[in-house]
């Protein structure tokens, strides 16, 4: 698994405690994928990564970090 971490959980809470379901709908994926991302069990495609960043209105680097 690539060493890519993310700030999705923190960003959700920073954005008015956005639910996983709400983020999933905004990013066009399932809630299970958001859960897997938050747990570090899945690395998204570039497209989904951009969609998630877009859903939060931040840059890609603010959501995903390569360690």
């Amino acid at each position: 698994m690539p060493r890519i971490s993310n700030q999705i959980r923190r960003l959700r809470f920073d954005h008015g405690e956005m639910t996983q379901e709400e983020l999933a709908q905004r990013a066009g994926c399932t809630r299970q994928t958001i859960i897997a991302l938050e747990q570090g069990k899945y690395v998204p495609s570039i497209e989904l990564a951009f969609k998630i960043a877009q859903a939060f209105g931040v840059s890609l680097e603010e959501v995903f970090q390569y360690e």
Binding site: A24, G28, T30, Q32, A36, Q39, K41, P44, E47, L48
Partner: protein, 145 residues
Amino acid sequence: MAPLQKRAWWGLGVGLAFTIAFVLVFFLMGGIESFDTDSNFRLIINVLWIGGLVANLVIMELTLRKPGMVDERDRMIRDRASRAQWLATIFALAAWVAVLNEVYQETGLIPAVYLYVIFMSVLIVSTLAQCLGIAIGYWRANRNA
């Protein structure tokens, strides 16, 4: 549970029920010998395999068409399961070819009923392998940290 994962478990359940029904009907109605003579037997077998195909189509395709039900992670797991499905199908066909060839080598004639049996068994193996592959795929994806 992801929608695709739920469908895979449903597919496994329906697939196993279908397999048991097929085996029971086949042997209770007389097996290979009575297939040629009993038109009711042929009708039931035809209903079973067409029903199996329709059930598989509804469970694995039609109910997952709504947008947002299947995403890239689901598709990745489904694509990996397709490889297991393909391998299982090839192995099932190879087993049939080897067994039928051994059994009917001397007569040189294979009863036509085996066309149905081969098709149905491959359909069952393919469906079960796909559903099992998807279920295992989710299990592995959730386990990997």
